[in-house]
């Protein structure tokens, strides 16, 4: 520690002052308030009700008997407010005398629309009504109990307008979450995650780059956020943009997902348990392979295309077609299964509560070695379980949370979660070792030895596969093992009525082991793979975060309330990886030390952020709420010439319907107007600012020698991306609060956007780009959520939620002198959306000679590239319906999901037409003319274009259906339980789309991101359908 004495003194003064403030007023006269909260009509005690003294930091929570106690309440008249989900908020006055106990009971009336009234903010908990921005709230506990969700991504999907979740399709693969569009050109557009008050590692693409061939292809990339057990989550809040996320600081510009895990509730010990079993079915329709060979062909390459037939340059043999996916002996896709079970325990007293859970999950994906391959492998040494079922996720979670309230002024909680998982993901997708590149790429017949197509280079029957068979491909075993601990300690100390101090300290530690193994003589024959290889990469990923703050409240008058919060936050993120491997394995071996050619590498990444913030919140007449805040950050990745960033925030919330002048119609229960303006940022990569050399090994005269090579130019002026967002909207409750409507408009402009500016090659640097703060990106859109209780009778209820959003994304500028960033199909061009599709357009096609075949002269392709469309959905909508019937003992939930306004590159069909020579448009004269035209435009026109394969990707999907039935008491008793329910659920049940590819949600880039990154249906796995049965027991 290099602290100079003067600064140490300053620190001492600061903490002394804080102490004085904290303890001042201890001697002031105080009293106690106690009481009970019950439900109107039934008189039943309401537990978990928050009871607050307005204008102070004092808060209490009711126990199972509905009782609460507030100590240290200042003398005089006080206003007490109670908040509870599902009940109308209530406020009462009470006089408190020094040393006396006042009694104040509440009787709350139930409301039909159940919204959380308290939300978690960066400065602590706040009433929703006081916020100038919208915060989406997901009742995760309810969703996991009744909906077909198996991951955090499923919990989030379709639950909040403006939040798009693109899930991977393979068991154990990751997901990509985007909130209010894509904001960053070069950095991640992922939101950050906070769990129980501390930062959680959520990185996408969390797998060793050595393990899978290719960069992001060949498999579903893992996402660390999905390690979290959804059944452990009580609640999720989604802070959508900079206007709300300012105080979360640098990195929060893409939104914040705030997770609160389950906590114990006072009262008798309560056990719950569940068991689930399920089936995974692939109900997709896969493409058929077509082939027409030249008559008498002696090689598979001697194809006779329609264009050649029309030109008379070849004499065709008959058209052949075959789909290995519908051939039960050849298909690599079967049925998957999943099992899940868990136990939860909670209980405790008013002063000490506990929650504990344990859970296991085992899912086997749909990929399998087909029967014909098993027969072959049995003859050459047999099969292994990991080859037969190459895609499997096995996960165990443990959680223990303790909440203690040793005094009325102090709450302490300790939250611990541990997860162990083993994920086996085969190389399914786009790379030379990927299954689907072989399954989609074979000819339109099973075998034809006369043209050299029947055996792979390993001697296996190809049976319709391109060059390698599933058996060989699945012998390449790739596994990721995770051991992860997330622990946090939260303390809230209210030493005096007007001051609350909080501290959240925690660590998220992940030990990740990635392994790949090809035993000698196994795996697809690509390069020297069959000599055997093993790689073993071990990473430790560690995020430490500390968040401290103090809030002073003050009510100068009954109609005014002020709250001042200061705080500091520190995040230290580190990841280190050691990789080792070997090739040319000895027979029978599988360890790194067993090969003839060992190799190793390592990588380290470290980033640290220190932030300070202050917030002033004012409430006037409990209907106008104003907030102003500032946050300043320093970060280790900033350039040496840039020290600190400051983010401001302003917001207002106005319950205008409470005003006497407001012409309140009878149907309107409440109307709130809100607006917020704020800034946040995204920090650069840890090395982006630095100029450096990179190490290398160079062989000279057959001797390897150490070397250095100039790598990166660096940028000493580098600073974070800075996003400024305005959002405004209203919340309305109507028809006795049976209907709520939320509408929001937002406009987010990212300035100083980090551009990976292309370094002209002639400069000779190792790095091809240099991060510069040059760009500007705009996202603007609207979100709407309508929640209605259509029927609410004793025996029957029907509620519906319709939510939707639209987003308009535009790259405003790349910066002066920066050329558009150009990829093969995606470009970053000012004035157009980020990652938009660009190609030479097919201007027209016409079968002029009426021969039923489109040839090169009958297609007109533009010579210039032009914009085709968005690559991610612009519009999304979700319709959810919940019905409770049979005396509300049976609950049915159904969710339909729409996404649209975007294009998707049908890359699978493109490569089938361009290289695999097996698409219908190449050979089948009955194929629609457009299918033929896009082939010709792709292959024969001088302006070759993929535009014909960029298709509208809108769809409606019957996403979820669940039926939950409370079982009769006698059944529960038979199971030695007090309650029992059973849920039948299905996910991804049906889709409606005009997209001609396998599925518009087939997504090879679910976990990706980066400069030119878009979803890609390129030799990738489509979503599968889940059917599950879940039994819930309470004890």
């Amino acid at each position: 520690m290099r602290m100079v004495p003067a600064r140490m003194a300053a620190n001492a003064v600061a903490f002394a002052l804080l102490f004085l403030i904290s303890t001042a007023g201890f001697a002031a006269a105080q009293g106690t308030i106690t009481g009970r909260v019950t439900a109107q009509g039934t008189g039943e005690a309401i537990l978990e009700t928050r009871v607050l003294v307005v204008g102070t930091s004092l808060v209490a929570t009711t126990g199972t008997d509905g009782r609460y106690t507030l100590r240290g309440v200042p003398n005089g008249a006080q206003q007490i407010r109670v908040l509870r989900v599902g009940f109308a908020e209530q406020k009462k006055g009470v006089d408190v005398a020094a040393g006396q106990t006042a009694t104040l009971d509440f009787v709350l009336s139930a409301v039909v629309v159940k919204l959380a009234e308290v939300v978690t903010t960066a400065t602590g908990e706040a009433r929703r009504v006081e916020l100038g921005n919208t915060v989406s709230n997901i009742n995760a506990a309810q969703r996991t109990a009744t909906a077909p969700v198996k991951s955090l991504a499923d919990v989030l999907a379709g639950q909040a307008p403006g939040v798009q979740v693109a899930s991977g399709s393979v068991t154990g693969s990751g997901a990509r979450v985007r909130i209010r569009g894509t904001s960053s050109l070069s950095l991640s557009s992922d939101p950050i995650y906070v769990i129980d008050g501390v930062r959680m590692t959520s990185s996408t693409g969390s797998v060793s780059p050595n393990i899978f061939v290719g960069s992001g292809d060949g498999r579903g990339t893992q996402t660390r956020a999905l390690d979290i057990n959804p059944d452990d989550i009580e609640n999720i809040e989604i802070v959508k943009g900079p206007s709300a996320a300012t105080l979360y600081g640098t990195d929060a510009a893409n939104g914040v997902i705030v997770i609160t895990t389950k906590h114990g509730r006072g009262g008798p010990q309560k056990w719950t348990a569940f068991g689930e079993t399920g089936l995974l079915k692939d109900r997709n329709t896969y493409p058929t392979a077509y082939t027409t060979l030249v008559k008498g062909a002696t090689a598979l390459s001697q194809i006779c295309r329609l264009t050649a037939q029309a030109a008379g340059t070849c004499t065709p043999d008959s058209l052949r077609s075959y789909s290995l996916f519908t051939d039960p002996t050849a298909s690599p896709i079967g049925s998957g299964s999943r099992r899940q079970g868990g136990v939860q325990l909670s209980g405790g007293s008013e002063t000490l509560r506990y929650f504990s859970s344990g859970q296991f999950e085992d899912e086997i994906g749909v990929y399998q070695i087909p029967s014909y391959e098993i027969s072959r492998l049995d003859t050459i040494g047999g099969t292994r379980e990991e080859w037969i079922h190459p895609n499997r996720l096995s996960r165990q979670n443990l959680r223990a949370n303790i909440n203690a309230s040793p005094s009325g002024s102090l709450d302490v909680s300790v939250n611990t979660g541990f997860v162990h998982s083993t994920t086996r993901i085969p190389q399914t997708d786009n790379n030379s070792l990927g299954l689907l590149s072989h399954a989609y790429g074979g000819p339109g017949f099973v075998s034809m030895p006369s043209v050299g197509y029947n055996l792979s280079s390993t001697g296996a029957q190809l049976h319709g596969y391109r060059a390698s068979t599933p058996g060989d491909i699945f012998q390449n075993t790739t596994t990721q093992e995770i051991n992860r601990f997330i622990g946090s300690t939260n303390a809230n100390w209210r030493p005096i009525s007007w001051l609350a101090n909080r501290a959240n300290v925690g660590i998220d530690y992940t030990a990740r082991q990635d392994q790949q193994l090809c035993r000698r003589g196994t795996c697809a024959d690509i390069g020297s793979t069959r000599l055997g290889l093993v790689e073993d990469d071990r990473a430790s990923i560690n995020t430490f975060s500390a968040d401290v703050g103090s809030t002073a409240t003050f009510a100068p008058a009954a109609s005014m309330n002020f709250k001042t919060t200061v705080g500091a936050q520190y995040v230290n993120a580190y990841s280190g990886r050691n990789g080792s491997g070997t090739s040319n394995l000895a027979p029978g071996t599988q360890t790194v030390s067993a090969g003839a050619t060992p190799f190793s590498d390592e990588a380290t990444s470290s980033s640290r952020t220190l932030g300070l913030f202050i917030e002033e919140a004012a409430a006037f007449r409990d209907r106008l709420f104003l907030t102003a805040a500032l946050r300043t950050d320093q970060n280790s990745a900033f350039g040496t010439n840039f020290q600190r960033v400051v983010y401001p925030k302003l917001s207002a919330s106005y319950l205008i319907s409470e005003e006497s002048f407001f012409p309140k119609p009878r149907f309107l229960s409440e109307l709130r107007l809100r607006a917020a303006l704020g800034e946040s940022g995204v920090q650069p990569g840890p090395l982006d600012a630095l100029r450096f050399y990179a190490p290398a090994t160079v062989n000279i005269n057959a001797v390897d020698q150490p070397a250095v090579q100039f790598s990166t130019l660096g940028n000493s002026d580098l600073r974070p991306e800075r996003a400024r967002e305005f959002e405004g909207g209203f919340d309305a409750r109507m028809f006795d609060s049976r209907v709520t409507l939320e509408a929001t408009y937002y406009s987010k402009v990212t300035k100083d956007a980090l551009i990976s500016a292309v370094i002209p090659p002639s400069a000779g640097s190792g790095a091809t780009t240099r991060r510069q703060n040059l760009g500007s990106v705009k996202n603007a859109g609207a979100e709407m959520s309508l929640n209605a209780q259509l029927v609410d009778r004793r025996n029957f209820a029907w509620s519906t939620t319709l939510s939707g959003s639209m987003n308009e994304n535009k790259l405003v500028t790349l910066g002066e002198g920066i050329q558009p960033i150009v990829g093969a199909t995606i470009r970053q061009v000012p004035g157009f959306p980020l990652n938009g599709y660009w190609q030479r357009q097919i201007l027209s096609y016409d079968d002029k000679d009426k021969n039923g075949i489109i040839t090169a002269s009958e297609v007109v392709v533009d010579t210039a590239f032009s914009y085709i469309g968005y690559s991610i959905p612009r519009y999304e909508a979700t319709l959810s319906n919940g019905i409770e019937t049979f005396n509300r003992k049976v609950r049915i939930n159904a969710m339909f999901d729409y996404k649209g306004g975007n294009m998707l590159l049908n890359g699978t069909e493109r490569i089938r037409c361009q290289n695999r020579n097996n698409c219908r448009g190449l050979f089948d004269q009955t194929a629609p003319l457009f299918e033929q035209a896009r082939v010709v435009a792709l292959r024969d026109d001088p302006s070759r274009t993929q535009a014909g394969y960029m298709e509208g990707a809108g769809f409606v999907r019957f996403r979820e259906l669940s039926v939950t039935a409370d079982m009769p008491q006698i059944v529960a008793a038979h199971l030695r339980a007090s309650t029992a329910s059973i849920t039948f659920a299905g996910r991804n049940l049906f889709k409606w789309t005009s997209y001609s590819g396998i599925d518009p949600e087939s997504n090879a880039d679910a976990g990706g991101g980066g400069t030119l990154s878009a979803p890609s249906d390129f030799q990738t796995s489509p979503p599968v359908t889940f059917y599950t049965v879940r039994l819930n027991l309470g004890f």
């Binding site: 390459s301 060059a467 007007w498 001042t564 160079v698 062989n699």
Partner: protein, 457 residues
């Protein structure tokens, strides 16, 4: 407003805490924000003799990458010409094979970068060696050779808006376009510097021979055939500078891309694929069907990477660790033969070529099984024979595109003499009309740069 004053006091106190904490945090922020980055090398860490040596080795590594160590213009130029055929699924390789290269082509861009990385690495190493490790002197000469060879390769392959920048210090001095001829002159000057800095130590002979061969090629690019022959007269035929490989530090890139991954197959004059099977590719040399011992090939039953294109594997470098000759004395004799032909000395021309084809002898190229050539009788046929001999001797080593361009540029051949011209392409459409590789669009981020017409030689 006594109450307000109280509140302001509390707020002020909170603010004071924040400011004082900020002051304190500023003091502790350095250690809190000091994130270690062990993966990188600080420029200060190479400012010493060891750093200079490591930079020298690094520059040679860059030279290997821009030649036979990766997907360089040796490979891409050969694909563009008639040495290789794409058996790949990537459009970038297919369009290079078809001579319809878009300036955004990622493979061409990368190959272009390889050239300039080698050049920058050599320039940085020259500065470090001179300052921290001046002996042996030939090391500096070798770095000038690397610089010259990078400039030479650019001139051989890319079109007529050559760019050379200087990023040895900030701000980067971006170059302006120069002609191909000027690029050959630039390379010649660098080779002159190599000769001037070759010293008299153990490495001097190597540098001298390399610089002479490099400069001779540049002079041929400038049509100074006699000068080139004079330069290489003292280079022995058996001289060779090999780039060596070990699996741990990196494979022979030609073997990796052809024999191992099968993204390229050896091209032949007769098409084997699709409906075109059996048809001739105009002007292409029969690198496979000639069965010339200088370009041995094998024909496995497997297809190329795309699973469709029939595959031929080269066997000049049959293993991942087979060394590749960057330059050799064979080229010296070829240069002399060309100079003789230009001078009208047919006998010397033919003698030089046949000496190389002899299995033994002082000027043998070291390949058995070649028979002596007869004089084809006409100047045009002699030129064709010369370029055919160069193509087989230098197969896969980065000079075929250079030769095809200068046949048109310097020997007056028609643009349609380029292999494939006017013919259907094996993956659909026809061969394009490009005769040189375009300057990549990425270079246009240099405000001085400009694109050039790749349909000109």
């Amino acid at each position: 407003m006594k109450i307000s004053i109280r509140h302001r006091g509390r707020t002020a106190a909170m603010l004071g805490v924040l400011l004082l904490a900020a002051s304190g945090c500023h003091a502790i922020s350095d250690p809190l924000l000091d994130a270690p980055q062990p993966d990188i090398i600080n420029p200060n860490d190479v400012q010493n003799a060891d750093g200079a040596e490591a930079a020298r080795v690094g520059a040679i590594g860059r030279l290997k990458t821009m030649t036979a160590g990766d997907e360089s213009t040796w490979i891409m130029g050969g694909l563009f010409a008639d040495e290789w055929k794409s058996s790949d699924t990537f459009q970038q390789r297919d369009e290079t094979d078809q001579r319809l290269v878009d300036p955004t082509n990622a493979q061409i861009t990368t190959a272009f970068r390889f050239i300039h990385r080698a050049r920058l690495s050599s320039m940085l190493a020259i500065g470090l060696l001179r300052k921290y490790k001046p002996a042996p002197a030939s090391n500096v000469g070798m770095m000038f050779f690397v610089k010259g060879f990078a400039e030479l390769q650019s001139a051989q392959d890319f079109c007529d808006a050559q760019i050379f920048s200087d990023a040895t210090a900030e701000p980067i001095q971006y170059g302006s376009p120069i002609t191909v001829a000027q690029a050959f002159q630039l390379a010649s000057a660098s080779f002159d510097s190599a000769l001037a800095n070759a010293g008299t130590d153990a490495g001097s002979a190597l540098v001298n021979n390399l610089a002479k061969l490099g400069k001779a090629r540049a002079q041929i690019g400038l049509k100074n055939y006699a000068g080139a022959a004079t330069l290489v007269a003292t280079v022995p035929t058996n001289f060779v500078f090999n780039e060596t490989y070990l699996q741990v530090s990196g494979d022979n890139g030609i073997w990796a891309l052809n024999n191992s991954v099968k993204r390229y197959t050896v091209q032949d004059s007769i098409e084997r694929n699709g409906a075109l099977a059996g048809t001739a590719i105009p002007n292409a040399l029969p690198f496979v069907s000639a069965k010339d011992p200088r370009v041995p090939t094998s024909r496995p039953t497997t297809r190329g990477f795309d699973g469709v294109t029939l595959f031929d594997a080269q066997q000049i470098w049959p293993t991942r660790e087979t060394a590749v000759a960057l330059l050799s004395g064979v080229e010296a004799r070829l240069d002399e033969a060309e100079a003789a032909l230009k001078a009208g000395d047919v006998a010397t021309y033919l003698q030089k070529l046949n000496d190389l084809r002899a299995a033994t002898g002082a000027n043998s190229g070291g390949v058995a099984g070649l028979t002596p050539l007869a004089d084809p009788g006409t100047q045009t046929a002699r030129e064709d024979l010369l370029f055919r001999e160069r193509a087989f001797w230098n197969f896969g080593r980065g000079s075929r595109l250079f030769d095809l361009r200068r046949r048109i540029r310097d020997y007056g051949r028609a643009t349609t003499s380029f292999p494939g011209s006017g013919a259907p392409f094996h993956k659909g459409g026809n061969y394009g009309t490009q005769l040189s590789l375009p300057i990549p669009q990425a270079e246009l981020n240099n405000a001085n740069a400009q694109s050039c017409d790749a349909t000109k030689p």
